[in-house]
């Protein structure tokens, strides 16, 4: 999809409203805060924007328009994007395409969410499926986790180690909801939600917003040096009973490529890079098992190598390939529409060298990944 004439997309500004619980604040308020911060960081005015793309799954009709309206910046095209947990990634893909095509020089991409507490209710399912008890998201995460443990020689202790890693990373992230370290023993002592997943192995749906200003390279002000090398959005191929499309049946899926891998292959090709070129990763850790599955699906390791990577600390801050230096969704919580752009904000800090205690030394190339209901998977590669 790349071509020689294609315009390079720079990330000119980033902004974020912390992820957490904020009584009295609406999704619009948080969106306005994140967008204003991103515009200020870019040295831009809302009047400079030529289009806006808003990721949200629960924001309702014209959620993005409410934010732009509060900034008196309407009149431009405003596109609200729903793609489940990948909503922010889908919005980023559209925003980048608007610049790559030459149609726009500067666009806003943001995500907002204010989630109900507890297990997510989704209009995806028929009422009879809910009544029959066939829709509990944590149970499907648990079934996928069971398979991962079985096929990759992993144990619940390995799942707990992922939580320990991400929560340790999250301690120094002011945008995270949980900022305390935990131990393997504490994680395994938290309530068993669906075997093998304990409560602390599952991320919390919550609230927040994140925003980026995208700009065509060479269109004026400096882009602060971070470029979108690739952004790829893919959906699932049919067949797996464990897909995020939550089918009621499935066939042998051993040869069916998962959506994360489809998106990763596209992104590596578009960027002209491979997994070995990546210095830092932010990936979907809806639950601890999902992160370990994603390592293999992104090609960061072979299936079955996860235990070794956990043991030698490769994916810790300070390791060979730090994963989720922000603390991940396990520390930040997951406001669906904003989560993908929260990853981008973290990775831009990493590439600018402004990540503070979480800084990955000398990071040049970064990868962000989200996957969720649909199924939708999005992989973004950023470079300095």
């Amino acid at each position: 999809m790349t071509s020689a004439s294609q315009t390079t997309v720079e990330i000119a500004g980033i902004g974020m409203h912390p992820f957490g619980r904020f009584d009295g604040l609406g999704a619009t308020d948080m969106g306005v805060a994140a967008v204003r911060e991103a515009l200020a960081d870019a040295g831009s005015s809302a009047r400079d924007l030529q289009a806006a793309f808003c990721g949200t799954a629960y924001g309702g009709v014209a959620a993005g328009h409410r934010v732009l309206g509060a900034l008196a910046a309407t009149g431009i095209p405003i596109i609200d994007v729903e793609a489940g947990c990948a909503s922010g990634g889908a919005a980023l893909a559209l925003g980048a395409a608007a610049i790559e095509s030459g149609r726009c020089d500067q666009v806003l991409v943001f995500g907002i969410e204010k989630m109900p507490k507890g297990v997510i209710r989704s209009s995806f399912f028929a009422p009879w499926q809910e009544a029959a008890g066939l829709t509990p998201a944590p149970a499907f995460f648990a079934l996928r986790a069971q398979r991962l443990l079985r096929e990759c020689g992993l144990t619940p202790e390995h799942l707990a180690q992922v939580v320990v890693k991400n929560r340790r990373h999250g301690v120094s992230n002011p945008n995270a909801m949980f900022r305390s370290e935990v131990t393997v023993e504490q994680v395994l002592a938290s309530r068993l939600v669906c075997d093998p997943l304990h409560l602390w192995m599952l991320c919390s749906p919550n609230e927040g917003a994140a925003a980026v200003v995208l700009r065509a390279a060479g269109s004026g002000a400096e882009g602060r040096g971070v470029v979108v090398a690739a952004v790829s959005l893919r959906s699932h191929l049919p067949g797996s009973v464990l897909g995020e499309d939550s089918p009621m049946c499935g066939i042998d899926d051993s040869d069916i490529t998962p959506p994360t891998t489809l998106a990763a292959r596209d992104a590596y090709e578009e960027a002209g890079m491979g997994p070995d070129d990546i210095d830092v990763v932010e990936c979907q850790d809806t639950d601890a098992a999902r992160e370990l599955l994603v390592w293999a699906e992104l090609g960061l390791c072979e299936p079955g190598e996860q235990a070794a990577l956990l043991a030698d600390g490769s994916t810790n801050l300070g390791g060979r390939l730090p994963v989720n230096p922000s603390g991940g969704l396990l520390s930040k919580g997951e406001p669906l529409g904003a989560s993908a752009l929260g990853q981008i904000v973290e990775l831009v800090h990493q590439l600018r060298g402004t990540a503070g205690e979480r800084q990955v030394d000398g990071a040049q190339v970064a990868l962000a990944h989200v996957i969720g209901r649909g199924a939708n998977a999005c992989v973004t590669i950023l470079r300095r």
Binding site: V119, E130, A131, A132, G133, A137, L143, R150, V241
Partner: protein, 130 residues
């Protein structure tokens, strides 16, 4: 006769509960519940097929808190069953009984739960065969 929770997915009669599947000769796949097109290939030659009542457990877990829209008892088992016969088909199902391990034989039964309107309805479950 009890009311099936979804008449498109199961039949309840004197023979008990039957899962209403589909079969596409051109794609070579069974599926559940029956759809106008094969969900794996899009083939349009789908024929109705009553699915086997026996299978083996592939994956299983226990749901400990009621999910949104569910008014039945907790905890309950949920898992994926590989149905007997060919071609290969896995279905999502409630699981009744303690699963001793992967491959444990199970048999289809009906299970009564409150339907979407709160009235009793029959859904399907696979019970572990002792």
């Amino acid at each position: 006769m009890p009311t099936p929770i979804d008449p498109g997915s199961l039949r309840v009669d004197d023979d008990g509960v039957t899962l209403l599947g589909g079969w596409s000769p051109s794609s070579g796949h069974r599926h559940f519940p029956m759809r106008p097109l094969c969900p794996f290939t899009g083939a349009d030659d789908v024929q109705p097929l009553d699915l086997p009542r026996d299978g083996r457990v592939w994956l299983w877990t226990t749901v400990t808190a009621p999910p949104p829209g569910y008014q039945g008892p907790v905890p309950y088992g949920l898992g994926i069953v590989e149905l007997d016969g060919e071609p290969f088909l896995r279905v999502v199902s409630r699981i009744i009984g303690e699963v001793p391990g992967e491959g444990a034989p199970v048999r289809l039964v009906g299970e009564e739960v409150p339907g979407p309107d709160g009235d009793p309805a029959t859904t399907w479950a696979f019970q572990v065969v002792p």
